[in-house]
Structure formats: structure tokens, C-alpha cells
Subunit: 207 residues, 2 copies
Amino acid sequence: MEEKQEYFTFTKSFILDSEKRFRTKLINSLAGIRQVALVGTKSSAGVENLAIFNSVIHLGAHPPLLGLLSRPDTVSRDTLENMIENGKYTLNFIDRKWVKDAHQTSARYAKEVSEFSATDFSSEYIGDCSAPFVKEAEIKIEMKLQQILDIEINNTKLMIGSVEWIQVLAERFTEDGLIKHHDLLLSGGLDAYYSAEMITQLEYAKP
Amino acid sequence: MEEKQEYFTFTKSFILDSEKRFRTKLINSLAGIRQVALVGTKSSAGVENLAIFNSVIHLGAHPPLLGLLSRPDTVSRDTLENMIENGKYTLNFIDRKWVKDAHQTSARYAKEVSEFSATDFSSEYIGDCSAPFVKEAEIKIEMKLQQILDIEINNTKLMIGSVEWIQVLAERFTEDGLIKHHDLLLSGGLDAYYSAEMITQLEYAKP
């Protein structure tokens, strides 16, 4: 006997007619779970900024490129301006225990306030990278801005950067090149946070 | 007493000089954990296709838009052609127990072979959507192709589509609009798979 399962369905007209906050949460969470990255930047006036993003995009390994999505109506505007002014920025992946501090960086602080002061994260400078890392992060990536792509259909921007330097907690790295992200903070949209465990690694699939 | 932690670091020249397979795995896994989507399409000749993607991008809720990244050197080429021919495609999120079948759709089958035949997934047609859904999926999304954006820096394409219809297992939906993705299959790059549990939901952050 098959268990009968219940589903909800949402039509396009229902979605378009729904209240704005409901729709934002629905579509933002619909897209699924993604990595939380704290993006560290520094303005030309020397003010540090730290902002939570859940839109890290793997663009390719040859050359090593990662994307970040910036929406005009979000707090990512300071980050965007700093990235353009400075050229360098950092991506920092953190343990799940940092969920409250990470979420706090999404508050709309004035541009002259550093989120490093408003949270328990510490800024750290490594090598010649002019943007701050998060000292507590288990995976740290130095990025260099390469291109900004306009996505005109909804006025967002894809910030494309090259991977310049990586630091990974030793136990997260395996010799074949895999970096493991178990127990790190993940996002499920605007306000829901997750963390993951590894299920398996599989061989290259053949027909 | 603070515990001393060990880190590995990778410089840009080390990354660029590393062997291709190592570098692909390193950068692909570096980007972090993301949702696994099975993308269902159908060619104009009527052949169904099912392909695993880990590049679902939330582009915005007003209008509801999701992106998918397509790289020229991957099996996503069939998917891309079908999306253009048909206009419609589906995104299907599945339980972690489907990891082997999901990974198997990444094999390079000939264009006339349906991955639905090669795996235990069943195709399902709902309403007037001309692309197949995965019957076993707990979250199903009907998409309509709106725009293809060329990312020339590394010859990839961002396929932008509008959300046309959603079906969600009832227990995954909460009244405020949140869709929950716990225990679904997640990707950590080329060959590593994860699943997640929810940690918390937090209030809108204020300074």
C-alpha cells in the first residue's frame, strides 16, 4: 500500500498576486540551500565592511572564477561600491555556531559603521590583500574583481572575480583536491539557516 | 589555552600550475554547498532528458526568476538545446536517498537516450507544461526560459527563467511562505554529496 502524500501547489497568478513579503520569502527559499559567504571589503576611506551573501556561484576552474549576485535593494550596495573602489574582496565560510553574528551582518548599518565592530568577528589582513578576512573563518578566499555583468531583466549585477589565494582548515582538505564543507553555515533564503553532513563521494558516472 | 589549528594555503600560481583534474575538483568544491536540481527537458523530436545541475541561482522574487549556469564542456548541452527548442523546463529537488540515480544522470548519454530510462526516476506531465517533471521529487518547479546571458570571460551561459508553477510536499511549506529543504540532496562540487538539517529561523536583523 502506497502512502498518500499531500502537496501544495502555487500557480503563477497566485504568486504574482500574493503579498510582497510572502512572495519574497517563498521564491527566495524555493531556490534551495546555498553556502553562506561573509564578504569582506574595505572602502577607499578605509572603512571595513562585512556582509552576508548566499549567492556564491561557481563559474569555472580554468581560469578559477566565482560569481556573486548583487541586488540593488539590499545591503550589498556598500559591498559592491567597496569591491569596485578596492579591486580586492574576501569570501569567508564559517562554522554553524556563528549563525547569529552572520545574520546580524545583514542589518542596514550606516556606511561608516564596520560590521566587524557590531559583531564578534575579527578582521585579519594576510599577505598583500587589501580587503579584510574573517579571522574565525575555516575557509578564506582572496578574490580580485574581474568584471561586472548587468542582468537587465531585473536590475541585478553579477560580480565576477578570480580566485587569488585560498586558506583551508587542514582537516577540510583531501589530497585529490576536494574541500569539504560539512558543519559550515548554509542559507535557505532570507531567514532560514542550515548545516550539512556529507553523504558520499561517487566515481565519475558512465552510461 | 587556545587550540592550535593547522591550515593549508594555496597560492594563485600553485592553482594555475596544478594538474587539471585536481584544479577542477579544488575550485568546484571550493565554491561550497548548493542545491541539487534535476532539470527535466524535452527535445522537439520528443526525446526526454534529465540532467543534474548544482547551479540554481535565485535572481529575484519580483518577478520570480531563477538562473541556471551552463558550461559548454558539460553534459548540460542537451539540456540547453532542449530549453531553447521547447521554452519550458522543470527543476526537481529530491530526497537524499536518490543520490546514486541523480549522479548517474551526469553520465554522457547519447542525445537519443532518455536519462529517465537509464535511472529509476519516472517522468510525469502536469498541466500544460511540455517538459517532464520527476515524479519522485518533493519540490517541482515549472520554468519558462526568458533570456540567455553570455558570460564571455569563460564562455558560459546564464539561462534565466521565470517560475510558472510550484508543487511542494505539504510538510515542507510553512504559512509565512518558507519552503524547507532539509534532507534533500545537495552538492559539494563534482562528486561529493551532502544533505542538511535546519538550524534556526531568525528575525529580520536590525542595527
